[in-house]
Protein backbone atom coordinates (compact mmCIF):
# COMPACT_ATOMS: atom_id res chain seq x y z
CA UNK A 1 0.00 0.00 0.00
CA UNK A 2 2.69 2.41 1.09
CA UNK A 3 4.81 1.45 -1.87
CA UNK A 4 1.96 2.21 -4.25
CA UNK A 5 1.45 5.61 -2.70
CA UNK A 6 5.13 6.37 -3.05
CA UNK A 7 5.04 5.43 -6.72
CA UNK A 8 1.99 7.62 -7.29
CA UNK A 9 3.63 10.65 -5.75
CA UNK A 10 6.78 9.96 -7.72
CA UNK A 11 4.73 9.92 -10.90
CA UNK A 12 3.04 13.22 -10.14
CA UNK A 13 6.42 14.74 -9.33
CA UNK A 14 7.64 14.05 -12.83
CA UNK A 15 4.99 16.10 -14.60
CA UNK A 16 3.92 19.53 -13.45
CA UNK A 17 0.46 19.67 -11.99
CA UNK A 18 -1.74 20.96 -14.81
CA UNK A 19 -4.22 22.80 -12.61
CA UNK A 20 -1.51 24.63 -10.72
CA UNK A 21 0.29 25.58 -13.91
CA UNK A 22 -2.82 27.03 -15.52
CA UNK A 23 -3.50 29.01 -12.36
CA UNK A 24 -0.02 30.40 -12.64
CA UNK A 25 -0.50 31.27 -16.28
CA UNK A 26 -3.30 33.62 -15.30
CA UNK A 27 -2.36 35.18 -12.00
CA UNK A 28 -4.90 37.57 -10.47
CA UNK A 29 -4.34 40.94 -12.11
CA UNK A 30 -4.31 42.77 -8.84
CA UNK A 31 -1.62 40.48 -7.49
CA UNK A 32 0.73 40.89 -10.42
CA UNK A 33 0.17 44.63 -10.57
CA UNK A 34 1.13 44.82 -6.90
CA UNK A 35 4.25 42.81 -7.54
CA UNK A 36 5.36 45.08 -10.34
CA UNK A 37 4.56 48.27 -8.47
CA UNK A 38 6.28 47.14 -5.30
CA UNK A 39 9.55 46.02 -6.74
CA UNK A 40 11.71 48.58 -8.37
CA UNK A 41 14.81 46.40 -8.14
CA UNK A 42 15.46 42.87 -9.27
CA UNK A 43 18.73 41.10 -9.62
CA UNK A 44 20.20 38.15 -11.42
CA UNK A 45 23.64 36.67 -11.90
CA UNK A 46 25.55 38.13 -14.85
CA UNK A 47 25.76 34.50 -15.90
CA UNK A 48 21.97 34.42 -16.11
CA UNK A 49 21.53 35.30 -19.75
CA UNK A 50 21.43 32.67 -22.42
CA UNK A 51 23.65 33.05 -25.45
CA UNK A 52 27.02 33.36 -23.74
CA UNK A 53 29.27 30.37 -23.34
Amino acid sequence: MLEQTAQTSAATEVLPDCAATSTNANPPLEGSALVEADLLVEDVSIDGMCGVY
Binding site: P16, N24, E36, S45, M49, V52
Partner: protein
Protein backbone atom coordinates in the same frame (compact mmCIF):
# COMPACT_ATOMS: atom_id res chain seq x y z
CA UNK B 1 9.30 23.32 -3.35
CA UNK B 2 5.92 24.84 -4.15
CA UNK B 3 4.11 23.61 -7.23
CA UNK B 4 2.87 27.07 -8.16
CA UNK B 5 5.64 29.18 -9.71
CA UNK B 6 6.44 32.48 -8.12
CA UNK B 7 4.76 35.19 -10.20
CA UNK B 8 6.92 36.20 -13.16
CA UNK B 9 7.79 39.73 -12.10
CA UNK B 10 9.47 40.28 -15.36
CA UNK B 11 6.21 40.55 -17.27
CA UNK B 12 7.33 44.00 -18.31
CA UNK B 13 11.05 43.49 -18.06
CA UNK B 14 11.18 40.31 -20.12
CA UNK B 15 9.32 42.10 -22.88
CA UNK B 16 11.85 44.90 -22.71
CA UNK B 17 14.72 42.48 -23.04
CA UNK B 18 13.04 40.63 -25.86
CA UNK B 19 12.77 43.97 -27.61
CA UNK B 20 16.50 44.36 -27.22
CA UNK B 21 18.60 46.96 -25.49
CA UNK B 22 20.70 49.77 -26.95
CA UNK B 23 23.79 47.77 -26.07
CA UNK B 24 24.43 44.16 -25.08
CA UNK B 25 24.69 43.44 -21.38
CA UNK B 26 27.60 41.13 -22.11
CA UNK B 27 28.77 39.16 -25.12
CA UNK B 28 30.95 36.34 -26.29
CA UNK B 29 34.00 37.24 -28.27
CA UNK B 30 35.81 34.42 -29.98
CA UNK B 31 39.32 35.78 -30.42
CA UNK B 32 40.68 33.03 -32.64
CA UNK B 33 39.63 29.87 -34.40
CA UNK B 34 43.01 28.37 -33.59
CA UNK B 35 43.05 25.70 -30.94
CA UNK B 36 45.48 23.14 -29.61
CA UNK B 37 42.64 20.71 -28.96
CA UNK B 38 40.03 19.11 -31.21
CA UNK B 39 37.02 18.49 -28.98
CA UNK B 40 34.43 16.41 -30.79
CA UNK B 41 31.56 18.74 -29.88
CA UNK B 42 33.24 22.12 -30.50
CA UNK B 43 30.48 24.65 -31.06
CA UNK B 44 32.73 26.93 -33.09
CA UNK B 45 34.28 24.14 -35.19
CA UNK B 46 37.68 25.48 -34.18
CA UNK B 47 41.16 24.17 -34.89
CA UNK B 48 42.83 26.26 -37.56
CA UNK B 49 43.51 29.97 -37.35
CA UNK B 50 41.64 32.01 -39.93
CA UNK B 51 44.09 34.11 -41.99
CA UNK B 52 41.66 37.01 -41.82
CA UNK B 53 41.60 37.34 -38.01
CA UNK B 54 41.07 40.76 -36.54
CA UNK B 55 44.41 42.46 -35.91
CA UNK B 56 45.45 43.74 -32.49
CA UNK B 57 44.46 47.25 -33.57
CA UNK B 58 41.10 46.10 -34.85
CA UNK B 59 40.47 44.27 -31.59
CA UNK B 60 41.29 47.39 -29.62
CA UNK B 61 38.86 49.36 -31.75
CA UNK B 62 36.15 46.85 -30.85
CA UNK B 63 37.02 47.23 -27.18
CA UNK B 64 36.76 51.01 -27.53
CA UNK B 65 33.26 50.55 -28.90
CA UNK B 66 32.29 48.19 -26.12
CA UNK B 67 33.47 50.77 -23.63
CA UNK B 68 31.41 53.51 -25.26
CA UNK B 69 28.38 51.23 -25.30
CA UNK B 70 29.02 50.32 -21.66
CA UNK B 71 29.01 46.60 -22.27
CA UNK B 72 29.73 45.24 -18.81
CA UNK B 73 31.93 42.35 -19.69
CA UNK B 74 33.04 40.06 -22.48
CA UNK B 75 33.43 36.34 -22.39
CA UNK B 76 36.56 35.82 -24.44
CA UNK B 77 36.80 32.40 -26.05
CA UNK B 78 37.67 30.77 -29.32
CA UNK B 79 39.20 28.24 -30.19
CA UNK B 80 41.75 28.65 -27.44
CA UNK B 81 42.08 32.40 -26.94
CA UNK B 82 45.40 32.21 -25.07
CA UNK B 83 47.20 31.04 -28.20
CA UNK B 84 46.97 34.55 -29.60
CA UNK B 85 50.25 36.36 -28.99
CA UNK B 86 48.40 39.54 -28.10
CA UNK B 87 46.01 37.80 -25.70
CA UNK B 88 47.22 39.55 -22.54
CA UNK B 89 47.65 42.85 -24.31
CA UNK B 90 43.98 42.69 -25.26
CA UNK B 91 42.77 41.52 -21.86
CA UNK B 92 44.68 44.34 -20.18
CA UNK B 93 43.35 46.84 -22.71
CA UNK B 94 39.78 45.72 -22.05
CA UNK B 95 40.02 45.98 -18.28
CA UNK B 96 41.75 49.33 -18.55
CA UNK B 97 38.79 50.48 -20.60
CA UNK B 98 36.15 49.38 -18.11
CA UNK B 99 35.17 46.20 -19.89
CA UNK B 100 35.35 43.17 -17.61
CA UNK B 101 36.78 39.96 -18.99
CA UNK B 102 36.02 36.33 -18.35
CA UNK B 103 38.02 34.10 -20.64
CA UNK B 104 37.21 30.51 -21.47
CA UNK B 105 40.16 28.18 -21.73
CA UNK B 106 41.18 24.54 -21.80
CA UNK B 107 43.90 25.50 -19.33
CA UNK B 108 46.90 24.70 -21.48
CA UNK B 109 48.50 28.11 -20.92
CA UNK B 110 47.57 28.60 -17.27
CA UNK B 111 50.84 28.14 -15.46
CA UNK B 112 51.90 29.43 -12.07
CA UNK B 113 52.74 32.90 -13.34
CA UNK B 114 49.61 33.31 -15.42
CA UNK B 115 47.49 32.16 -12.50
CA UNK B 116 49.03 34.84 -10.30
CA UNK B 117 48.42 37.44 -12.96
CA UNK B 118 44.74 36.52 -13.17
CA UNK B 119 44.42 36.43 -9.39
CA UNK B 120 45.84 39.93 -9.17
CA UNK B 121 43.12 41.52 -11.29
CA UNK B 122 39.64 42.27 -10.01
CA UNK B 123 38.32 42.52 -13.52
CA UNK B 124 39.58 39.27 -15.01
CA UNK B 125 37.80 36.00 -14.44
CA UNK B 126 38.58 32.64 -15.97
CA UNK B 127 36.51 29.64 -16.96
CA UNK B 128 38.13 26.22 -17.27
CA UNK B 129 36.39 23.74 -19.57
CA UNK B 130 35.96 20.18 -18.38
CA UNK B 131 33.47 17.63 -19.67
CA UNK B 132 34.14 14.66 -17.46
CA UNK B 133 34.81 14.24 -13.76
CA UNK B 134 37.23 11.51 -14.69
CA UNK B 135 39.87 11.46 -17.41
CA UNK B 136 38.08 8.57 -19.05
CA UNK B 137 34.85 10.50 -19.57
CA UNK B 138 36.50 13.83 -20.27
CA UNK B 139 39.21 12.80 -22.66
CA UNK B 140 36.76 10.80 -24.70
CA UNK B 141 35.28 14.09 -25.84
CA UNK B 142 38.14 16.55 -25.41
CA UNK B 143 41.13 14.38 -26.30
CA UNK B 144 43.97 12.60 -24.49
CA UNK B 145 45.62 14.62 -21.75
CA UNK B 146 42.98 17.35 -21.69
CA UNK B 147 41.68 16.32 -18.27
CA UNK B 148 45.13 16.55 -16.73
CA UNK B 149 45.70 19.93 -18.36
CA UNK B 150 42.48 21.33 -16.92
CA UNK B 151 43.15 19.96 -13.43
CA UNK B 152 46.68 21.33 -13.46
CA UNK B 153 45.40 24.77 -14.44
CA UNK B 154 42.88 24.65 -11.60
CA UNK B 155 45.65 23.74 -9.20
CA UNK B 156 47.66 26.78 -10.26
CA UNK B 157 44.64 29.04 -9.85
CA UNK B 158 43.97 27.69 -6.39
CA UNK B 159 47.60 28.03 -5.40
CA UNK B 160 47.57 31.63 -6.61
CA UNK B 161 44.69 32.29 -4.22
CA UNK B 162 42.12 32.86 -6.93
CA UNK B 163 38.82 31.47 -5.74
CA UNK B 164 35.53 31.65 -7.56
CA UNK B 165 36.89 30.95 -11.03
CA UNK B 166 34.49 28.92 -13.14
CA UNK B 167 34.60 25.23 -13.90
CA UNK B 168 32.39 24.92 -16.97
CA UNK B 169 30.92 21.62 -18.05
CA UNK B 170 28.90 20.70 -21.11
CA UNK B 171 26.30 18.18 -19.94
CA UNK B 172 26.22 14.98 -21.93
CA UNK B 173 24.72 11.53 -21.76
CA UNK B 174 28.07 10.35 -20.48
CA UNK B 175 28.57 12.80 -17.64
CA UNK B 176 25.10 13.36 -16.16
CA UNK B 177 25.95 10.58 -13.72
CA UNK B 178 28.90 12.66 -12.50
CA UNK B 179 27.18 15.86 -11.35
CA UNK B 180 28.07 15.38 -7.69
CA UNK B 181 31.63 14.63 -8.69
CA UNK B 182 31.90 17.81 -10.72
CA UNK B 183 30.66 19.72 -7.68
CA UNK B 184 33.26 18.00 -5.54
CA UNK B 185 36.03 18.95 -7.97
CA UNK B 186 34.85 22.54 -8.10
CA UNK B 187 34.67 22.72 -4.30
CA UNK B 188 38.08 21.14 -4.03
CA UNK B 189 39.67 23.85 -6.14
CA UNK B 190 37.63 26.75 -4.83
CA UNK B 191 35.86 27.11 -8.15
CA UNK B 192 32.24 27.72 -8.99
CA UNK B 193 30.63 24.97 -11.00
CA UNK B 194 28.87 25.87 -14.22
CA UNK B 195 26.78 23.33 -16.11
CA UNK B 196 25.77 24.16 -19.66
CA UNK B 197 23.73 22.64 -22.41
CA UNK B 198 25.13 20.60 -25.27
CA UNK B 199 23.83 22.09 -28.46
CA UNK B 200 23.94 20.58 -31.95
CA UNK B 201 26.16 23.47 -33.06
CA UNK B 202 29.47 23.33 -34.85
CA UNK B 203 30.95 19.87 -34.52
CA UNK B 204 28.30 19.29 -31.86
CA UNK B 205 25.93 18.40 -34.67
CA UNK B 206 28.01 15.34 -35.50
CA UNK B 207 27.79 13.89 -32.01
CA UNK B 208 24.51 15.28 -30.77
CA UNK B 209 22.52 12.11 -31.36
CA UNK B 210 24.96 10.11 -29.26
CA UNK B 211 25.78 12.66 -26.60
CA UNK B 212 22.70 14.68 -25.80
CA UNK B 213 21.10 13.70 -22.49
CA UNK B 214 18.29 11.18 -22.49
CA UNK B 215 14.86 12.40 -21.33
CA UNK B 216 15.22 10.84 -17.89
CA UNK B 217 18.68 12.40 -17.57
CA UNK B 218 17.22 15.83 -18.35
CA UNK B 219 14.86 15.41 -15.43
CA UNK B 220 17.73 14.29 -13.25
CA UNK B 221 19.71 17.33 -14.28
CA UNK B 222 16.79 19.67 -13.64
CA UNK B 223 16.22 18.24 -10.15
CA UNK B 224 19.92 18.50 -9.35
CA UNK B 225 20.06 22.10 -10.52
CA UNK B 226 16.97 23.05 -8.53
CA UNK B 227 18.54 21.48 -5.44
CA UNK B 228 21.72 23.52 -5.88
CA UNK B 229 20.10 26.85 -6.73
CA UNK B 230 22.44 29.72 -7.33
CA UNK B 231 25.49 27.77 -6.13
CA UNK B 232 25.78 26.33 -9.60
CA UNK B 233 25.76 28.52 -12.70
CA UNK B 234 24.12 27.55 -15.96
CA UNK B 235 24.52 30.46 -18.34
CA UNK B 236 20.73 30.26 -18.47
CA UNK B 237 21.22 27.24 -20.74
CA UNK B 238 18.32 25.27 -19.42
CA UNK B 239 15.27 27.49 -19.65
CA UNK B 240 13.75 24.82 -21.89
CA UNK B 241 13.55 22.67 -18.77
CA UNK B 242 11.31 25.18 -17.00
CA UNK B 243 8.34 23.13 -18.16
CA UNK B 244 9.28 20.62 -15.45
CA UNK B 245 8.19 23.07 -12.76
CA UNK B 246 9.75 26.18 -11.28
CA UNK B 247 12.14 28.14 -13.44
CA UNK B 248 15.81 27.82 -12.74
CA UNK B 249 17.72 30.94 -11.71
CA UNK B 250 18.36 33.34 -14.54
CA UNK B 251 16.43 35.40 -17.03
CA UNK B 252 14.92 32.30 -18.63
CA UNK B 253 14.80 33.70 -22.06
CA UNK B 254 16.82 33.58 -25.26
CA UNK B 255 19.19 36.51 -25.11
CA UNK B 256 20.55 36.12 -28.63
CA UNK B 257 20.53 39.39 -30.51
CA UNK B 258 18.64 41.01 -27.66
CA UNK B 259 20.97 41.28 -24.69
CA UNK B 260 23.94 39.23 -25.91
CA UNK B 261 25.61 38.23 -29.17
CA UNK B 262 28.82 36.78 -30.61
CA UNK B 263 31.75 38.52 -32.25
CA UNK B 264 33.85 35.94 -34.10
CA UNK B 265 37.60 35.99 -34.88
CA UNK B 266 37.12 37.63 -38.27
CA UNK B 267 34.72 40.27 -36.93
CA UNK B 268 31.50 38.61 -37.96
CA UNK B 269 28.63 39.22 -35.57
CA UNK B 270 26.18 36.41 -34.94
CA UNK B 271 23.12 36.23 -32.71
CA UNK B 272 24.96 33.90 -30.33
CA UNK B 273 27.92 31.47 -30.25
CA UNK B 274 25.60 28.53 -30.81
CA UNK B 275 24.34 29.96 -34.07
CA UNK B 276 27.35 30.37 -36.32
CA UNK B 277 25.52 30.25 -39.62
CA UNK B 278 24.50 32.66 -42.34
CA UNK B 279 20.92 32.63 -41.07
CA UNK B 280 22.05 34.17 -37.79
CA UNK B 281 24.69 36.49 -39.20
CA UNK B 282 24.04 40.12 -38.34
CA UNK B 283 27.00 41.91 -39.91
CA UNK B 284 30.71 42.55 -39.49
CA UNK B 285 32.55 44.93 -37.18
CA UNK B 286 34.80 46.00 -40.04
CA UNK B 287 31.84 47.60 -41.82
CA UNK B 288 31.31 51.36 -41.53
CA UNK B 289 29.75 52.11 -38.18
CA UNK B 290 31.46 49.14 -36.58
CA UNK B 291 29.93 46.90 -33.97
CA UNK B 292 27.55 49.51 -32.64
CA UNK B 293 25.83 49.87 -35.98
CA UNK B 294 25.53 46.13 -36.39
CA UNK B 295 24.02 45.80 -32.92
CA UNK B 296 21.54 48.57 -33.39
CA UNK B 297 20.57 48.37 -37.04
CA UNK B 298 21.06 44.86 -38.39
CA UNK B 299 18.04 43.34 -40.02
CA UNK B 300 18.53 40.04 -38.20
CA UNK B 301 18.56 41.69 -34.80
CA UNK B 302 15.53 43.81 -35.63
CA UNK B 303 13.74 40.62 -36.54
CA UNK B 304 14.78 38.85 -33.34
CA UNK B 305 13.65 41.85 -31.32
CA UNK B 306 10.20 41.87 -32.83
CA UNK B 307 7.40 39.93 -31.14
CA UNK B 308 8.02 36.21 -31.55
CA UNK B 309 5.15 33.82 -32.03
CA UNK B 310 5.30 30.44 -30.44
CA UNK B 311 3.82 28.90 -33.55
CA UNK B 312 3.02 25.26 -32.86
CA UNK B 313 3.89 25.79 -29.19
CA UNK B 314 1.30 28.51 -28.62
CA UNK B 315 -1.34 26.13 -27.38
CA UNK B 316 0.97 24.50 -24.86
CA UNK B 317 0.45 25.65 -21.30
CA UNK B 318 4.19 25.49 -20.69
CA UNK B 319 5.15 27.88 -23.48
CA UNK B 320 5.28 30.79 -21.11
CA UNK B 321 8.03 29.12 -19.10
CA UNK B 322 10.01 27.26 -21.74
CA UNK B 323 9.67 29.95 -24.44
CA UNK B 324 9.86 27.26 -27.09
CA UNK B 325 13.45 26.47 -26.16
CA UNK B 326 16.64 27.22 -28.05
CA UNK B 327 16.55 28.45 -31.64
CA UNK B 328 20.03 27.09 -32.35
CA UNK B 329 19.02 23.64 -31.09
CA UNK B 330 16.01 23.72 -33.37
CA UNK B 331 17.86 25.09 -36.38
CA UNK B 332 20.71 22.61 -36.34
CA UNK B 333 18.44 19.61 -35.89
CA UNK B 334 16.39 20.77 -38.84
CA UNK B 335 13.34 21.71 -36.81
CA UNK B 336 11.23 24.80 -37.53
CA UNK B 337 11.98 27.76 -35.28
CA UNK B 338 8.33 28.26 -34.42
CA UNK B 339 7.88 24.86 -32.88
CA UNK B 340 9.22 22.67 -30.08
CA UNK B 341 12.82 22.38 -28.98
CA UNK B 342 14.35 19.01 -29.95
CA UNK B 343 14.62 18.29 -26.24
CA UNK B 344 11.15 19.55 -25.32
CA UNK B 345 10.44 17.90 -21.99
CA UNK B 346 7.01 16.82 -23.16
CA UNK B 347 8.59 14.92 -26.03
CA UNK B 348 7.08 17.04 -28.80
CA UNK B 349 10.51 17.70 -30.26
CA UNK B 350 11.39 14.04 -30.43
CA UNK B 351 8.20 13.31 -32.36
CA UNK B 352 8.95 16.04 -34.83
CA UNK B 353 12.52 14.82 -35.28
CA UNK B 354 11.30 11.34 -36.03
CA UNK B 355 8.87 12.74 -38.58
CA UNK B 356 11.64 14.71 -40.27
CA UNK B 357 13.05 11.53 -41.78
CA UNK B 358 16.26 11.71 -43.76
CA UNK B 359 16.41 15.44 -44.43
CA UNK B 360 19.89 16.73 -43.70
CA UNK B 361 19.83 19.65 -41.28
CA UNK B 362 21.88 22.84 -41.86
CA UNK B 363 25.54 22.81 -40.85
CA UNK B 364 27.43 25.51 -39.00
CA UNK B 365 29.66 27.59 -41.19
CA UNK B 366 32.50 28.50 -41.30
CA UNK B 367 34.29 25.34 -40.27
CA UNK B 368 37.87 25.75 -39.02
CA UNK B 369 38.31 22.17 -37.92
CA UNK B 370 41.77 20.74 -38.36
CA UNK B 371 42.37 18.78 -41.51
CA UNK B 372 42.59 15.48 -39.78
CA UNK B 373 40.16 12.61 -39.51
CA UNK B 374 37.53 13.57 -36.97
CA UNK B 375 37.81 11.44 -33.89
CA UNK B 376 34.81 9.18 -34.01
CA UNK B 377 32.94 8.66 -30.82
CA UNK B 378 32.57 4.95 -30.33
CA UNK B 379 29.46 3.94 -28.51
CA UNK B 380 30.32 3.43 -24.87
CA UNK B 381 27.16 1.97 -23.34
CA UNK B 382 29.04 1.10 -20.15
CA UNK B 383 29.43 4.79 -19.35
CA UNK B 384 25.69 5.33 -19.36
CA UNK B 385 25.10 2.65 -16.77
CA UNK B 386 27.66 3.90 -14.25
CA UNK B 387 25.94 4.56 -10.92
CA UNK B 388 25.79 8.11 -9.64
CA UNK B 389 28.77 8.46 -7.34
CA UNK B 390 27.55 9.98 -4.10
CA UNK B 391 30.69 9.89 -2.00
CA UNK B 392 32.98 12.83 -1.48
CA UNK B 393 36.75 13.00 -1.74
CA UNK B 394 38.60 11.86 1.36
CA UNK B 395 40.25 15.16 2.13
CA UNK B 396 39.39 18.63 0.99
CA UNK B 397 42.10 18.63 -1.59
CA UNK B 398 43.67 15.43 -2.63
CA UNK B 399 45.81 15.53 -5.70
CA UNK B 400 43.14 13.50 -7.36
CA UNK B 401 39.73 14.69 -6.23
CA UNK B 402 38.54 11.11 -6.51
CA UNK B 403 41.36 9.68 -4.40
CA UNK B 404 38.99 8.34 -1.78
CA UNK B 405 36.76 6.52 -4.22
CA UNK B 406 36.77 2.80 -4.63
CA UNK B 407 39.03 1.75 -7.48
CA UNK B 408 36.18 0.40 -9.60
CA UNK B 409 34.34 3.71 -9.38
CA UNK B 410 37.27 5.58 -10.85
CA UNK B 411 38.40 5.07 -14.42
Amino acid sequence: MSVVDAPRPVGKLVDRFQEGLDAPICLTWELTYACNLACVHCLSSSGRRDPNELSTQECKAVIDELERMQVFYVNIGGGEPTVRKDFWELVDYATAHKVGVKFSTNGSRIDCEVARRIAASDYVDVQISLDGATAQVNDHVRGPGSYDTAIAAMGHLRDAGFSGFKLSVVCTRQNIAQLDDFKAIADCYGAQLRLTRLRPSGRGADVWDELHPLPEQQKQLYDWLMAHGEDVLTGDSFFHLAAFGESLPGLNLCGAGRVVCLIDPIGDVYACPFAIHESFHAGNVRSPGGFRTVWRDSELFRELRSPQTGGACNSCQHFDSCRGGCMAAKFFTGLPLDGPDPECVLGHGELLLAARGDQVPPKSSPDHSKNQPRRKLERRPSLITLPVIQSRPDRACDESPLAGFAKEQQD
